[in-house]
């Protein structure tokens, strides 16, 4: 991603040596265009707010958001006004819920799809449960499990469980029959069939499910904290909103998206290691949930 400047097709020989910037623009224009778009957007936002005299509690200029972000990060690690404590709580909920929920979904999806009777029996109910927006259960779960960590983790579990369940089932269903026939021909037992062919073949789908679950996990944490919590970024957003601190709210959005990017990045790194053989376009796992 860093300095791959010679990858693009350079058809004509340049009459004079071209500058590094021009070469970059020609070969990897996105590396220049993406930051440019961001800068233009921020400038329009900044001067648009000033020009049209928009009140800051409706839409604060980016500079105010940056100041609020700095104030929040500058506070002590355990300060209730700072971001570190709340971000830590939310991140912990997300990681715990994501790990438990997606593991459970993966295991159950795998078990169900290995036994045809189970799959036939449960698939109707699973579709029915899936069409229910799980987030609607958040108030009930907070009522049952209180304002603490448990209720958030359970909400996130519910949200991350189904993408993994559905995608792993789809992945196991999509295993190429030729591979199964090959394994039968060489005398593989069910156990070998699973570990050597079925599971690796289903991995692209499972990773697509994990990607989806990571997004849902952050959603679940924030909604759970909205409904009832003492700490967390959701709580912070609610209290800032109540104080008309819109710039603060925006700065919390940045923290939230950083958490999302972090999760996505970690998944990408693992995926690139495990699924090195699965080129782009080779698999288009159907999105569930």
């Amino acid at each position: 991603m860093t300095t791959q400047t010679q990858t693009g097709p350079i058809t004509e020989a340049p009459s004079r040596p071209i500058s590094g910037f021009r070469l970059l623009l020609r070969t990897r224009p996105e590396l220049i265009l993406a930051p440019t778009v961001l800068i233009v957007l921020l400038l329009v936002w900044q001067y648009g707010v000033v020009l049209f005299d928009v009140p800051t509690f409706i839409l604060p200029p980016p500079t105010d958001v940056a100041t609020a972000l700095w104030r929040g990060l500058d506070a002590g690690l355990l300060s209730r006004g700072g971001y570190w404590l709340h971000a830590g709580v939310t991140l912990w909920e997300v990681l715990l819920g994501f790990a438990i929920g997606s593991t459970a979904g993966l295991i159950l999806g795998t078990l169900i799809s290995q036994v045809r009777i189970l799959e036939a029996t449960f698939s109707l109910y699973l579709v029915a449960i899936q069409s229910l927006p799980k987030i609607a259960l958040a108030p009930i779960i907070v009522l049952w499990f209180g304002f603490g960590l448990t209720s958030k983790v359970i909400i996130i579990c519910l949200l991350t469980f189904f993408p993994l369940l559905v995608n792993s089932m789809a992945g196991f269903r999509a295993v190429e029959p030729e591979r199964i026939e090959l394994m039968r021909a060489i005398g593989a037992n069910a156990w070998q069939m699973f570990w050597k062919v079925r599971l690796p073949s289903a991995l692209p789908y499972i990773f697509a499910g994990l990607d989806m679950a990571a997004v849902f996990a952050v959603v679940g944490a924030v909604v759970g904290e909205f409904v009832g919590a003492q700490r967390g970024l959701g709580v912070l957003i609610l209290s800032m909103n109540a104080q008309m601190d819109t710039a603060g709210t925006f700065s919390v959005f940045i923290i939230l998206s950083l958490i999302g990017i972090l999760l996505h990045g970690v998944l990408r790194i693992v995926q690139r290691r495990v699924l090195f053989w699965s080129g782009p376009g080779q698999n288009n796992p159907a999105a569930g949930a």
Partner: protein, 289 residues
Amino acid sequence: MALETVRLPDPRPISVSSATGTAANAAIRIAHLDKVFITVRNERVHALDDISLTVKDKEFVTIVGPSGCGKSTLLKIIAGLLPASSGQLRVVDQPVLKPRRDIGVVFQSPVLLPWRTVLENVLLPAEVQHLPSGPTRARARDLLKMVGLADFENKYPGELSGGMQQRAAISRGLICDPAILLMDEPFGALDAMTREQMNLDLQRIWRESGKTIVLITHSIPEAVFLGDRVVVMTPRPGRIACTIDVPLPRPRGLDAMGDPAFGRLTSDIRRLLYSLSDAAPAHEGGGLG
């Protein structure tokens, strides 16, 4: 399927395979074998009708016929991947109840696992059979050398051409040192020149390894070039029209295709197949080939 295929009298002297004969050195003995499929629409499809065939030890038998004549079905039954509806099948004088270790299968497509290197793919059957890894690893390297892939053992299948992938699949079929190698149109997807090269290579491999080979093809020249005997099959229901001895001397080079005897055999088989397909009812579909 009420329409009846007209059975022509065999137009020329042929060596009718001795189904009832008790050749002591028979690798495969098939007698009066029938296969009937029930389709999803509850129709009966008579895929194989009264197949009798004896393949001698170390013999190279090719089966040629149009698509839909049930030749793949026959191969899968011999491989133990499909049960026969009725009739007898004995491999090395034992009934075939499930895939056997002394039968290697090479499919129409290479079916290499993309997450395994070429060497690991070749080793897959040995791994499944829990053969000791040291000697099989050496054997896999020898086999890869024999098919001309010695320098590619650490590549992944995606980095190989179609012909190279099929060579790897042949090595995999031979890794457990089976007495019998079954090949289902192994070169169907290759271009003409690669295909001729593969035919020469396969003849050499067969002579060097001393295997019994049954090869399915829909190329008449390929069937004549490779086979000690050519089994001609006709579709709907799949029947053996006749079995033709190929008296051409071994080893056969590409110039053998210019031999008048070669030309006579191929045109005989072609005429036979055309006369039979004219008599056969026109029927669309039929994916039994």
